[in-house]
């Protein structure tokens, strides 16, 4: 799975935002693989860890904006879980591959592309640092 970025996208915000990015012809790295979830709160630590275990270079969790989650608390839970996952990785001393949460609204394709580009940049920088 060399260099793949796994993005868990909430079907109420990030997934339509990704669709819109495609429709508008906004390009983002081809390495991004989107997995559709009904809410960012559905993403469990095991999903993020498995992606890293299988060789993903980063994991993104994309949910609704703060205070605008379709399922009210899903994005807050997702953020905490991403934090927890990051902490687990640090504790066991696994290399610093990023697990990051972003919030965006369904009409924000630019923000989606920005998130994808940002994570790609982080990966590139950490690779060069090593």
């Amino acid at each position: 799975m060399n260099g793949r970025i796994i993005a868990f996208c909430c079907e109420h915000s990030a997934y339509p935002a990704a669709d819109l990015a495609g429709k508008l012809g906004l390009h983002y790295p081809e390495t991004l693989r989107i997995i559709r979830v009904p809410c960012a709160g559905r993403v469990d630590v095991i999903h993020m860890l498995r992606a890293l275990e299988k060789g993903a270079s980063a994991v993104l969790v994309l949910g609704c904006e703060d205070g605008a989650c379709h399922h009210i608390t899903g994005n807050i839970r997702a953020r905490e879980r991403v934090k927890h996952c990051d902490m687990l990785l640090r504790e066991i001393g696994i290399d610093g591959r990023p697990v990051v949460m972003f919030n965006l609204s369904p009409n924000a394709p630019h923000k989606f592309v920005k998130a994808a580009n940002e994570i790609t940049k982080i990966i590139k920088e950490s690779r060069e640092a090593r």
Binding site: D19, L20, H27, I35, R42, D44, H47, G55, G74
Partner: protein, 550 residues
């Protein structure tokens, strides 16, 4: 037994030029479990979908993968195709090769498309059917409130043939709105008469909701009326609890003690002015009236309407000079442009300002000072009466009702809409709807649109007497569940209860009617006892593993 998976590719009528469909099809055909690969160029059309259904029947497929546009557009339509071909709609998995592959990247993306299809096939292998069932619902509706929006809702429900109960905390209906007849262009008195004569509408005054349990189609509400407790069942709840206003004078208004009482009487709200205009025994008619509105809220439709109505009436009754200080006159509601023109023609002066005008007391008169952006200079008007800007607040009971029904409030304390743009009349709890001032929107025309929208939604839900729901799409495994209550606490829709299996062990039971399929419970369950068909752990992990394979 290994599932027989059929893959249907759609090239969007040639809209995906950077994917080589023949090569992709050949690669996908080699994936384990794929029984057939079919290229159909027009899945959007009836003919294309018929071809797909014929393919499913001919190959006797168990699972279907469609690689085409985003599932956001066509998933439900294609699910129907599966149902027509004798398969469950949930046995479909889509690979989004248009928006998230072909259109998102430049250059040849056949490889990525194949990978996306591989992910979909891997997930499809694990899909399971979900049973559907019709559940009987209560056909009565509870409308909370007794003002314009509540009364208008009840009348509309009666018109579509649904029985409703009006629950009002005051002794009579329309206490807050009765005095305002004409001010906002509605006719509340005759509406209340119509409600009182309608057999489909029951009126419960001096009543309060004390408990509310259950979910859409099956709410059990206890109402306390004059010390008596009444328990009722409703299919849906409409909140129309309205708003209240407070005068906003801006900072810097200092009144001398000896002048205060007199000056205060000269600063009034739209409602008070309306009262004065309808009072035949008023002693002194104000010669000059100043109106200030539109500085606290971007949406000034409601104050615009009130100001225009009042200004015209004051011109007619008292022949006063009228100055209106405002940021924007919003005339996009029905009939308001005409009112605005009428007001200008009979001599009402409109001054456009960017900041809230300064207000001072000068010789017993109220001086309004502001910079008119068109004149570019300070204008001072001395008035006998100031109709001040009003701030909107939710009514007192709003917070209590929101915690009773477990729905959210927005930053201003009004009820939060589910989606401000797409579905503004629904709350995030299924079966609870919001209309009128209680969601912070006050324009009469829009309130009527709200009401029609809520009534239509509820009519669609309840008229047949049953709702079709997916049974056990999200389910706790009785073997694994230890009744730790974690899911019950986290469920944002209050859809999980504690129940017993076959009279024995206590487990979490997900109420299918109330479940909104978010999967939060499945993620938090410490025992991993909750399975969410379509987004099960193994189904999500299968997609990740598919990426590794390729």
């Amino acid at each position: 037994m290994e599932a027989k998976i059929g893959v249907f590719l759609c090239n969007c009528g040639g809209g995906m030029k950077n994917i080589d469909f023949d090569a992709a099809g050949a690669k996908v055909a080699k994936i384990r479990g794929v029984a057939c690969v079919d290229l159909i160029s027009d899945l959007c059309l009836e003919e294309g979908r018929e071809k797909m259904a014929a393919g499913i029947r001919a190959e006797n497929l168990d699972r279907v993968v469609v690689a085409a546009c985003s599932p956001e557009f066509k998933e439900h339509v294609l699910g129907q195709v599966l149902e027509n071909a004798g398969l469950d709609g949930h046995l479909l998995c889509m690979a989004n090769i248009r928006e998230q592959c072909s259109w998102a990247h430049e250059g040849d993306v056949t490889e990525k498309a194949v990978e996306l299809m591989n992910m979909a096939v891997n997930k499809a292998r694990l899909l399971q059917p979900v049973e559907k069932q019709d559940i009987a619902v209560d056909r009565e509706v509870l409308v909370v409130g007794g003002g314009f929006s509540a009364v208008a809702s009840a009348l509309q429900f009666s018109r579509v043939g649904l029985r409703s109960t009006l629950l009002e905390k005051e002794v009579v209906l329309g206490t807050a709105t009765r005095e305002l007849e004409g001010l906002h262009g509605f006719d509340i008195c005759s509406m209340i008469d119509a409600v009182e004569g309608d057999t489909n509408i029951e009126i419960l005054t001096s009543g309060r909701m004390t408990t509310a349990k259950g979910t859409i189609g099956d709410f059990t509400v206890t109402i306390t009326k004059e010390g008596e407790e009444i328990s009722r069942k409703y299919g849906a709840i409409v909140l129309a609890t309205g708003y209240r206003t407070e005068l906003a004078l801006g900072s810097g208004l200092e009144l001398r003690a000896d002048e205060e009482a007199i000056s205060r009487a000269k600063i009034v709200s739209q409602e008070q002015l309306f009262g004065m205009l309808n009072d035949p025994f008023i002693d002194t008619k104000p010669k000059t009236i100043g109106f200030v509105f539109g500085f606290s809220d971007e949406n000034s439709r409601f104050p615009t309407l009130a100001t225009l109505n009042n200004a015209l009436a004051a011109k007619k009754e008292w022949d006063s000079e009228i100055y209106v200080f405002c940021k924007d006159v919003e005339v996009d509601s029905e009939g308001v442009e005409k009112l605005y023109r009428e007001a200008r023609e009979c001599g009402v002066v409109f001054l456009k300002c960017e900041v809230l005008p300064r207000i001072a007391v000068d010789n017993g008169r109220i001086a309004i000072e502001a910079e008119d952006v068109f004149l570019g200079e300070d204008t001072i008007v001395a008035c006998d009466l100031l109709v001040a800007e009003e701030l909107l607040f939710p009514t007192e009971g709003t917070a209590a009702l929101s915690s009773l029904l477990n729905i959210l409030l927005d930053s201003r304390g009004f009820y939060q809409d589910e989606n401000v743009h797409l579905y503004p009349v629904a709350s995030e709890k299924k079966g609870v709807f919001l209309v009128g001032g209680c969601r912070g929107d006050l324009d009469t025309g829009r309130v009527l649109t709200d009401i029609s929208s809520a009534v239509m939604s509820i009519d669609k839900l309840l008229l047949s007497g049953t709702i079709t729901v997916e049974i056990e799409r999200v389910k706790a495994d009785p073997q694994k569940c230890v009744a730790c209550l974690t899911c019950i606490r986290v469920c944002p829709h209050g859809a999980i209860q504690l129940g017993r299996v076959d009279g024995g062990k206590e487990i979490a039971v997900i109420v299918d009617l109330a479940c909104d399929a978010c999967g939060i419970c499945a993620a938090v369950c410490p025992a991993k006892a909750i399975d969410f068909q379509g987004y099960r752990d193994d189904q999500l992990l299968a997609q990740i593993e598919a990426i590794e394979e390729s």
